[in-house]
Structure formats: structure tokens, C-alpha cells
């Protein structure tokens, strides 16, 4: 009896933090998937395929990293995929009209950021629950994008611009470098800055956060705007990788991004999770989809598998949290 009481009051000291242990398990899972795929498919371990996995994972990660901050506040942003589509189409138009990739990149980021800010305003000032506000935004953005493009496809961008998504530097794809940069920035922001810690506090207990003087509304505006800007960044990478933009490119992006966040161990109930976890989550999801591809499973199966993974991830999260209590 005494032992049990002691344990509940003072958890056993461990060298690693709870977060680090969670990430470690997920790294193991990723390695296990790699081992299985290496056995099942000859081409999995080829350099070309591994670089391809990393590049794909980085695209999911850009969207999912901003989304992680939103989920940390116990919110959700369902509009990210539609935001990528609109930002890509507008950025593409600007590049075509002005011939300046720099201006296009800025417009794409700004467009994503403005959409994110609007989401933040709906959640904070209008007090609409985030999942329904951003779901409404999803359809507004979808409508705007289809109307703006009117069935057209933007095609053909300057060679320099296309390097961003498809170029290599010292043998590694350029998006992988961007991934490392944003993984570093995101981790530093969330773990080592006061604003980052305040975001965790808001997710863990919004009332306590408000009472202890954290400007909750301003921090929420910040996370939704950051989520929008990261969608804008993803739109630029997409644009330069595909070398074209169509109104429907965002439709299959939201579910994988949410899956990456949840696989990565960020809790839907806020306050728990890391940006690094989301990176591992993006990697695991990409490995699974890549494996299906290598084993010649039709791409039609991808939404089904992603949906199952989303539900499994939330269920596992809730199970471990219940055990921890």
C-alpha cells in the first residue's frame, strides 16, 4: 500500500523526460517500419527512395509543424490544406505576372498568414469553436480558389524558383534543409521561449493561463497565424516541386497533416506534445504510405489507411494518458 501511495505522489525519477520517452518509442516504431519495408521491398533502401521519403515527409512536416502549435492550445486548424491551395494559386499568379519569384514567395506566405489570422480572429474575438470555424474557412477558401482559378492550371515557373522544391545541395534535397531549419526554429520556440511555454500553459489550462496574466487571445492569434504562414510556406514548396498549380492540390493534405501531429504524440486536449514528435509523426506516416506504394498498393487505399491511423493515434494517446493518471 505504502509503495503505491509513494509512487502516485512522487513518480519514479527518470533520466529522460516523459516527452523524450514518448519520442523514443516513436523513433523505434519508425525504425521497425523501415526494417519491415527493407525486408519486403528491394527498392526501399535505395538512396533515391530514402531521399524521396525525406522530401515527402518534409512537405507534410511544414503543414503539420504550425498545426502542432494550434493543437497544443487544444485547438484545431482544418483549413490548412485549402490554405495551401489558395496560397499556391495566388503565389503562382504573382510569379507569372511579375516574373519575380521573391515577390511570389512573399505573397504566398502573406496569403497563408492572413488566412491564419482570420482563423485566429474567429476563434478569439468571435469565440467560435476552432474546429468549426476553420471548417467553415476550409469551404470559403475552397470556393475562392476554384472561383479564382476557373478550371485553369498555372504551369511553368523560372528554373531558379523550381530549385526550392526539386533541387539538391550536397546530395540532399533542398526541402530537407528547410525541414531541419524549421524543426530547429519550432523546437526552440516551443521549448525555450516564454511565448512557447505560454502556449503549453494555455493548452493545459486556459483559465489558469488567463488568471496568471498570459495574454491568451494574443497568443492564440499568434499560433493560428503561424499555422497559416507554415501552410503558405508549404504552398511555395509544392508550387516549385510540381511546377504547376491547380485548385484541387490542397484536398489531400489536411488529413495527413493532422495524422502527423497526432502520431507524433501531441494531444488533442492540449498542453502535451512536441514539434520534434510531429517530425517523427510525419516520417512514420510517409514511410507507411511509401511502403504501400512500393508494394504496389493502389493510391486509392491512402485515405482509408490515413483515416485509420488518425483514429488509432488518438486512441493510443488517450490510453496512455488514462494510464498516466
Amino acid at each position: 500500500m505504502t509503495d503505491i501511495t509513494k509512487e502516485t505522489i512522487m513518480p519514479p525519477r527518470s533520466f529522460l523526460s516523459q516527452d523524450a520517452i514518448q519520442v523514443f518509442y516513436r523513433l523505434l516504431a519508425a525504425l521497425l517500419i523501415c526494417a519491415v519495408l527493407a525486408v519486403l521491398s528491394d527498392s526501399f533502401l535505395s538512396l533515391g527512395n530514402i531521399l524521396n521519403v525525406l522530401r515527402q515527409a518534409s512537405l507534410t512536416f511544414f503543414i503539420a509543424s504550425g498545426l502542432t502549435l494550434v493543437v497544443l492550445t487544444a485547438g484545431l486548424d482544418l483549413s490548412v490544406g485549402a490554405n495551401v491551395a489558395l496560397s499556391a494559386c495566388i503565389a503562382g499568379t504573382v510569379i507569372h505576372k511579375t516574373g519575380s519569384p521573391a515577390l511570389g514567395i512573399l505573397t504566398g506566405l502573406a496569403c497563408g498568414g492572413v488566412v491564419g489570422l482570420l482563423n485566429g480572429v474567429m476563434v478569439t474575438a468571435l469565440r467560435i469553436p476552432s474546429f468549426i470555424a476553420t471548417y467553415g474557412m476550409l469551404w470559403v477558401l475552397n470556393g475562392l480558389t476554384y472561383w479564382y482559378m476557373a478550371g485553369e492550371t498555372l504551369h511553368g515557373f523560372p528554373a531558379g524558383f523550381r530549385q526550392i522544391g526539386s533541387g539538391y545541395l550536397f546530395g540532399l534535397p533542398i526541402p530537407v534543409y528547410l525541414l531541419l531549419v524549421f524543426l530547429g526554429i519550432g523546437t526552440f520556440f516551443a521549448q525555450r521561449t516564454i511565448w512557447g511555454q505560454e502556449i503549453y500553459a494555455i493548452g493545459a489550462n486556459p483559465v489558469a493561463a488567463r488568471l496568471s496574466g498570459i495574454p491568451v487571445a494574443r497568443r492564440l492569434l499568434l499560433v493560428y497565424t503561424v499555422s497559416g504562414i507554415m501552410a503558405g510556406l508549404a504552398s511555395i514548396i509544392f508550387l516549385s516541386r510540381l511546377n504547376s498549380a491547380e485548385a484541387d492540390i490542397g484536398e489531400s493534405l489536411t488529413l495527413p497533416a493532422i495524422a502527423a501531429v497526432l502520431i507524433g504524440g501531441t494531444s488533442l486536449f492540449g498542453g502535451v506534445g512536441t514539434v520534434f514528435g510531429t517530425f517523427i509523426g510525419a516520417l512514420i506516416l510517409t514511410l507507411v504510405l511509401n511502403g504501400m506504394n512500393l508494394l504496389s498498393v493502389s493510391a486509392n487505399w491512402q485515405p482509408l489507411v490515413t483515416g485509420i491511423i488518425v483514429i488509432l493515434a488518438v486512441w493510443l494517446d488517450m490510453k496512455t494518458r488514462r494510464r498516466a493518471q
Binding site: L126, I128, G136, W139, V140, L255, N300, G307, I308, I311
Partner: protein
């Protein structure tokens, strides 16, 4: 204390203005700016086209009253519509097709309810997951292709009339009557109010909130199955993306109709008027030749405005 009301009584009189004013304003607006809007042919067209949405919006009202949400409804409708098409094509029987659609729809509904009630997964994420699954299954069973050549018995449902009234409208009216009876005149209906308003009270009364919740989601799935029959009949084919996004119109109709997302209050007649508002909005924008993309965006704006007003009311 024992007599404290479990049911938060809806006050229709207080709510009639909101959605009725929206509908009257929309009708007035399009009567002026859209030529041909007020013709009998067009108005009956609006009614017939609103029938599928009615079938989704009524169960969506019940689900939202339990403080839930079903984002998978459009994708499940797509899947059931494909099931109706495939089974009726193979067996030449409309009833077997409907049965297949009902079965698949109800299965998804039970799955949604199980994820929400038993596993405790937040509804919007649980149903987002099943949305992906239903969408994936639609692509798999149809291999991404339309299913064509379905029997006449299915197609005729959409064009047939009963006593001069189109069959889809008859079906929608019967559905409304059934839901009205269920919600306001049965114990089950009272329990639905309690699921959103006071779940603890149900537990104290010796009932299982989880089973009730699963039943509510199962009704939603089954209704998506019936709507799937109408969808297949209307398009005279099964298509792997036919119903995607329709859940949004359903949520819009419920939100405009004055059902609250946070307080377990629901109003079925409001939802019906909400369905008509969405139908009129889409039809009117169509008549003044605005593309469907603008219709989608304007329904999105409609939802956000309705929710903002709902938030104002809940604070007032």
C-alpha cells in the same frame, strides 16, 4: 431538486425570427435579382433538390444536440450511393440496393458512435478519421470510376410522383414527421436532449448514455444510406466523389436553423428552414450564373455568421 428539468426546453418563438428572416430575405433578394426565381418550376426544383440535404440535416441536428458532430456524413453518403449503384446493378433490385446502402451507412454510424462514446475520441476528429475511411472505400469499391447502367427502378424514384407530389419530397416530409415524432414525442427524444444538456442525469436515471449516443450516430449513418439511394437515383449513376462536402451544407442548415453547438438545444423546424435557406442560396446564386465555387464560399460565410450570432445569443 428531483424535479429539476432534465430537458432544456427549446423556445421556438424566440428562434423563429432568426432563420425565418434569413429565408425571407434570401427569397426576397433573389426574387428581385434572379429572373425566373419565383416561377413554380424553379421553386419546386429548389424543394426537390433540398430533399437529400434534409435527410442529412435532420440527423445532424440530433448529433449536434449531443454536443457532437459528424464530418463523415458526406463521404458516407458517397459510399452508400456507390453501394446502392453497385448492388442494384448486380441484382437488378432497388430494394436490395437500398438495403446495402442502409447497412453500410448504419455500420459507419455505429462505428462513429463507438469511437465517440466508448473510446471517448472527440467527435470532430473521430468522424474526420471515418471521413477518410469512407472516402478511401469509395475509391476502392469504384476503382475511381463512375458506376453506370443502374436499373430504371432506382432512377425512377427521383422522377416519380405520388398524388402529384414528387416522391423525393414525400420521402423528405415523411422523414421530417418521423424525426419530429422521435424527438418531441418519445422518451428517446427526451434522452437526446439530456445527452447534450445533462448527461449525468441520464446515468443517475439508470440509463446508458453511451448506448444512446451510439444510437444517435447510427441514425445519422442510416439516413446517409437512404439519402444515398436518392443521390444515385438523381445522378443515375454512382460516383466516387458525388457527396463529398455535403456534410458541410448539413452543418450550415443546422447552424442557421438555430440549433446550438454548445448547449444541447435543438429545433427541427429550424433545421428544415435552414435547409431551405441553403437551397435557396445555392439556387439563386446559380440563377445569376455565379459558379458553384462561389456558392460553396457563400455557404461557408453563412455558417460563420450563424455561429457568431449563436455565440452572441449564448452570452446574452
Amino acid at each position: 431538486m428531483r424535479e429539476a428539468a432534465v430537458v432544456s426546453t427549446p423556445n421556438p418563438l424566440q428562434r423563429i425570427p432568426g432563420v425565418a428572416i434569413v429565408l425571407v430575405l434570401l427569397v426576397a433578394l433573389f426574387s428581385v435579382i434572379a429572373p425566373g426565381f419565383l416561377s413554380v418550376a424553379n421553386l419546386s426544383n429548389v424543394l426537390v433538390q433540398s430533399t437529400i440535404l434534409t435527410m442529412l440535416a435532420l440527423p445532424m441536428t440530433l448529433i449536434i444536440m449531443t454536443e457532437g458532430l459528424d464530418l463523415s456524413m458526406g463521404a458516407v453518403l458517397t459510399l452508400t450511393s456507390l453501394c446502392v449503384a453497385i448492388v442494384s446493378l448486380a441484382t437488378k433490385s432497388m430494394l436490395l440496393g437500398l438495403g446495402a446502402g442502409l447497412l453500410v451507412g448504419a455500420a459507419f454510424g455505429v462505428a462513429n458512435g463507438w469511437l465517440v462514446a466508448i473510446l471517448g475520441i472527440p467527435p470532430f476528429v473521430a468522424t474526420l478519421g471515418t471521413l477518410g475511411m469512407a472516402q478511401g472505400l469509395s475509391l476502392i469499391v469504384s476503382d475511381g470510376q463512375s458506376v453506370v447502367g443502374i436499373p430504371h427502378s432506382v432512377r425512377d424514384i427521383y422522377s416519380a410522383t405520388l398524388l402529384g407530389i414528387p416522391v423525393p419530397i414525400v420521402m423528405a416530409l415523411v422523414t421530417y414527421a418521423a424525426f419530429h415524432g422521435l424527438l418531441y414525442h418519445t422518451r428517446f427524444g427526451t434522452y437526446i436532449f439530456a445527452l447534450g444538456g445533462n448527461r449525468e442525469a441520464l446515468r443517475y436515471a439508470g440509463l446508458s448514455p453511451n448506448k444512446l449516443l451510439i444510437a444517435v450516430y447510427a441514425i445519422g449513418g442510416a439516413m446517409a444510406g437512404i439519402a444515398g439511394l436518392l443521390m444515385t437515383a438523381r445522378m443515375n449513376s454512382g460516383h466516387p466523389t458525388a457527396g463529398l462536402g455535403l456534410e458541410f451544407d448539413a452543418i450550415a442548415a443546422v447552424a442557421v436553423g438555430g440549433t446550438s453547438f454548445e448547449r444541447g438545444n435543438g429545433w427541427l423546424l429550424g433545421t428544415l428552414l435552414g435547409v431551405l435557406s441553403v437551397g435557396v442560396l445555392r439556387n439563386g446564386l446559380n440563377l445569376i450564373s455565379l459558379p458553384s465555387s462561389v456558392q460553396v464560399a457563400s455557404v461557408g460565410v453563412l455558417v460563420i455568421v450563424a455561429l457568431f450570432l449563436d455565440g452572441l445569443r449564448s452570452r446574452a
